[in-house]
Symmetry: C2
Subunit: 278 residues, 2 copies
């Protein structure tokens, strides 16, 4: 089954909320856990437990596991396996980007069925050109996986590069969006594509040069809700025609509720999204 | 001691050659090793042995270890520790890039003294803005570490983005170079900076909009020698006034000589670089 189909299924079952799994030191402390690989593992497993049956999608932030070296990656493997066993769709937020066989090794690490770090989708960075990511798109398509390419991000420092103009006409963010759209169209026609974008919820879509709507439709991973300033209730206003394809990612707003409050926080976030979520 | 000072020391002792540690499947096969974490570990340790006392700098390619999950990272930890114990300067080629506390976790993973993945320098990606990397620069500076920011790369797919024009004047690659130069100047004046760039050896410097020379001088990590087409004998022509700061990275041209030929290959590469190397 394609990633796009599984994403549709997750939306239908649980709506568009995605919970970040960010074992940041402050959160580990709040949850009464050590700032260690063991703490990150326990944190991740508890978040998976809280999400199972309530949320369709989780997004482990790889850096907070990588912080602890190989032990952190072993913890991440346990969390990825538990999440997938619980039927959650897992987006590994790793923002990898490289060329040739080097990029291929990253793609295989995260998107090959049966690999230790297997996830359902991977975030990637296009600084080396979207062209350098094509083999990753192929590999994802072949294995029923998804890829999210960084396009326009919510942090203020990102605009100078992402709004730079390529070939006298398009912004960098727009060129990334267009190349992803062209790839999806060639592969799956006008259906929902398997290759998506990362678009911050708080960005100025016009300044970034993004189109009114992605055609064909593509999944949009949207961080920036909650602590970063965007409200889930505004999703339809923020994303317009793209709204049905948006994965609304919340981390601190859910995780900060602590181990006793997380299921309640998930319920509240789902209610905020309710207008368009399933 | 600052990264820049240690880099100068490595150049003086052994010249400007950097050997990539790329446990790619094909190379593992050629070396008679398994395409596994154990194979990658053995490969890395043998390359470190061959480099010790002959070369000043090595560059492990993280993706080929990440391919094997946590076991691959454990192998990488062993290789990093062996390389640093042998007095080699180690550049972890990971091309990480993220924002805020997420980027901080990557920086801490690779650049904190005593951490499992400690290296001497880390490659990073500026798609989220050079501003998102400033805390990483600070952390590196504080711990005597280095950072190499992707600027202009040798792969043909990179040009569209890296040559895009920001604010009506500068290319993206130039803006990255200027921001790094400004940071170095503010920290270490006109001395060699601790924050460097990744600039492919085969790029068209003018098309990329890069300056004739970086001022203040900054380390330049230059992949693209050997298999990718640039010749070590041409380093001075390719990099002009920047040449003395260039780390000339070779992977396949050295590693492809196999376990019996690697020390001879290193000697030959050093001879090619001899005109400007130490």
């Amino acid at each position: 089954m394609s990633f796009a189909s599984r994403l549709r299924g997750a939306f239908e079952a649980h709506g568009q909320l995605c919970v970040g799994i960010d074992p940041h030191e402050h959160l580990l402390d709040q949850w009464g856990l050590d700032a260690s690989a063991a703490g990150a593992r326990e944190f991740g497993l508890r978040v998976v437990d809280a999400c199972a049956g309530r949320v369709g999608i989780v997004k482990p932030q790889v850096s907070f596991f990588e912080r602890h070296g190989s032990a952190g990656f072993a913890a991440l493997e346990a969390v990825l396996a538990a999440a997938r066993a619980a039927g959650l769709l897992v987006i590994a937020d790793a923002k990898r980007g490289d060329i040739g066989t080097t990029m291929e090794a990253y793609a295989r690490a995260w998107l090959t069925p049966g690999s230790a770090l297997e996830a359902d989708a991977l975030t990637v960075s296009p600084y080396l050109g979207v062209g350098s990511l094509r083999d990753t798109f192929e590999l994802a398509q072949e294995h029923g996986k998804g890829v999210f390419v960084l396009a326009a991000t919510s942090n203020p420092e990102g605009a100078a590069l992402q709004h730079a103009v390529s070939g006298g006409a398009r912004t960098v963010a727009r060129a990334v969006a267009d190349e992803v759209s062209a790839w999806n169209r060639a592969r799956t026609g006008e259906q929902l594509g398997n290759i998506g974008l990362v678009v911050g919820a708080t960005i100025d879509r016009r300044a970034a040069g993004l189109p009114e709507a992605l055609t064909p439709p593509a999944p949009i991973l949207a961080p920036g809700f909650g602590a970063q300033g965007a409200r889930l209730t505004e999703l339809a206003t923020l994303f317009g025609a793209d709204s049905p394809q948006v994965i609304a990612s919340e981390s601190r707003g859910v995780l900060g509720a602590g181990p006793d409050g997380i299921t309640r926080a998930i319920g509240e976030k789902k209610k905020e999204l309710g207008v368009i979520g399933g």
